[in-house]
């Protein structure tokens, strides 16, 4: 489950105070949810709060049944490891590790044994069509391949929620389509995908679209409504 209640984030900059997110409430249903809005509308801020990268100034976040807004950094890291995966726009991978090692990294943190890690990471790479690139370093992979490795890694511990912030922002349409398919593939059953995007075509493939403006949730488009 993923739920936000009256979520606000304010940044102080000298004297001025910026309200990046303002009273956001939403109960994310299973499936894919897209978040759209103009630049600076608070999309990344929202994702940071939902994934527990940051703490809200006010409000509550519940991720997989845990109130993460009250947890400390390490507590949130624990919840994240167990229940959430993420894909950023770029620079997702650890540059000194191979594709396989990158995918195995969350498994390492979770204490999975070496052999088992290897086996599972290979399976995940196969799922994203990169079995042949297992031993490549990130700088030996194309942007689209890097994103697919990042997806494989995000899926390693079978999270209930997948967060993606402009995951196709740096890719051409063919590579982007492939990445998007992989992400949507995961958003089935009880699992959730929250995807931030500028691209309305991508947003239209989600079951619902949240519109942000100036940190406020101004509109929710539902499949039913479209």
């Amino acid at each position: 489950m993923l739920r936000a209640r009256e979520l606000s984030k304010r940044y102080r900059q000298g004297e001025a105070e910026i309200t990046a997110l303002d009273g956001f409430s939403y109960d994310f249903p299973p499936g894919a949810t897209a978040v759209v809005g103009p630049s600076g509308s608070g999309k990344t801020t929202l994702l940071n709060l939902l994934a527990g990268f940051d703490r809200p100034t006010a409000g509550e976040v519940e991720l997989a049944g845990v109130r993460i807004d009250t947890l400390d950094e390490d507590g949130r890291a624990g919840v994240r490891l167990a229940h959430a995966g993420f894909v950023f726009q770029s620079w997702n991978l650890l540059p000194t590790l191979t594709a396989l090692e990158n995918v195995a990294f969350p498994l390492l943190l979770a204490g999975v044994s070496r052999l088992e890690r290897d086996r599972r990471a290979r399976g995940l790479l196969e799922r994203v069509g990169l079995a042949s690139r297992a031993d490549h370093r990130p700088n030996q992979l194309s942007g689209g391949e890097q994103q697919r490795v990042a997806i494989a890694r995000a899926l390693a511990l079978e999270p209930t929620v997948l967060f993606a912030d402009e995951p196709t922002g740096n890719l051409d349409s063919a590579a982007g389509a492939r990445v998007l398919d992989l992400l949507l593939e995961h958003a089935s059953g009880e699992r959730r995908l929250v995807i931030v995007t500028h691209d309305l075509d991508i947003a239209s493939r989600a079951e619902r679209v949240l519109h942000l403006r100036d940190g406020r949730l101004v509109r929710v488009e539902d499949d039913a409504a479209i």
Binding site: N48, F53, E73, A77, F88, R153
Partner: protein, 379 residues
């Protein structure tokens, strides 16, 4: 185990920098090992020397320290005084001797002459002494030369040895190498040396005691009975030497500490830079779910790994350097002056590790404290 792989990957990803840092620590550690190896070497040499020493008490004029050659300041009557006390104190034998030093920074130009009385030969001074050529007794008018001295100055049997303008004696014996100070000595008859020095005095009395005698007590009684003398027992001399060595160790450690601190700063700099460059990486790790301790441990391990690898290389280099030094000093003075004992090696490793720890703590703390969103940057 897994952490080590990550550490290794990161250090090899910035290979040149890591290598230079490693080299810096290695040099710092090696210099400390070498500095301190002298103290250890002297300690070992002294212990061996004292263990082989025949006489158990050395009587010298008051104010003579344990390591400089005693001047001829003991009047001839004193020999009678000591001999009179001998039966009562358990002194078996009293050997008067005169010492003359001609130096010389270079071992080849410094000469240490020992004048022994008639009836005494180098074995009274150093029981294991064996003659390699000629005879062991310099009397009545020859010189018996230690192995190292003979080799350095090409002193073979029959060669003349000039003690002064007027006095020249032939080499009548060459000793076998003993791995002791004796290797650098030249033994001559005491009368000859007294003539050279223009004195009838003695420089030192070497006393051999009954095995049952209490060395310290005899020394104290002698000093009480005869004013103006120092009676130094071998154990006392060892204690004195140990104190001097300790002070030397401290000074040498102080000097090498400078090098070590520089090494520590190198590690701190390397790790700090690498932490700074990897901010985003740590952000990604944290985003995945790594706890702060993980990042802390990762960075600290890097510093420790560098320090450990550098320390190990440094100790190895120190051992090699010490061997090289010994090769020289053995040739020059017949003694191994430098020793890398296990305790010195361990101590040096420990110092390197402590420095690594100190150098790694701050970067590790910084790395683990960056807020995740900040580490990730604006996405």
């Amino acid at each position: 185990m897994e952490l080590l792989v990550l550490v290794w990957r990161n250090l090899t990803a910035r290979l040149t920098r890591s290598l230079f840092t490693w080299l810096g620590i290695a040099v710092a550690t090696a210099s400390m090992v070498l500095f301190l190896s002298f103290g250890e070497g002297l300690r070992q040499a002294l212990a061996a020397e004292m263990g082989n020493m025949g006489p158990q008490i050395r009587v010298v004029a008051q104010g003579t320290d344990a390591f400089s050659p005693p001047l001829p300041e003991l009047p001839p009557e004193m020999l009678g005084q000591i001999e009179a006390l001998a039966p009562e104190l358990g002194i078996q034998k009293v050997i008067p001797a005169v010492v003359m030093f001609r130096g010389g920074f270079d071992p080849a130009t410094s000469f240490l002459f020992y004048g022994l009385p008639e009836g005494a030969d180098p074995r009274d001074f150093y029981p294991p002494a064996r003659v390699a050529a000629g005879r062991i007794d310099p009397h009545p008018d020859g010189a018996v030369v230690g192995a190292k001295k003979a080799e350095l100055n090409h002193l073979t049997l029959g060669k003349p040895l000039r003690l002064s303008r007027e006095v020249t004696v032939p080499v009548v014996g060459v000793l076998e190498p003993a791995g002791s100070m004796v290797d650098s000595f030249i033994f001559v008859p005491m009368k000859t040396l007294q003539k050279v020095l223009g004195t009838r005095n003695y420089g030192v009395f070497l006393l051999q005691l009954d095995p049952s005698a209490d060395v310290e007590e005899v020394a104290r009684k002698l000093e009480a009975a005869i004013p103006g003398i120092d009676a130094q027992s071998t154990t006392e001399a060892l204690k004195f030497a140990e104190r001097a060595l300790r002070i030397g160790d401290l000074i040498r450690f102080g000097i090498s500490l400078v090098a070590l601190v520089v090494g520590g700063l190198l590690v701190a700099n390397t790790v700090m830079m690498s932490v700074y460059e990897r901010t985003r990486e740590f952000g990604v790790m944290r985003a995945i779910g790594a706890r702060r301790r993980f990042i802390f441990g990762l960075v600290l391990s890097e510093a420790l790994f560098l320090a450990l690898a550098g320390g190990l290389a440094g100790v190895l280099a120190g051992i090699l350097g010490s061997a090289a030094i010994n090769l020289y000093t053995q040739q020059a003075v017949g003694l191994a002056l430098s020793a890398v004992t296990p305790r010195l090696a361990l101590f040096s490793m420990a110092i390197a590790l402590v420095l690594g720890l100190a150098a790694g703590l701050l970067p590790a703390r910084n790395a683990s404290r960056i807020p995740v969103t900040e580490a990730l940057g604006r996405i």
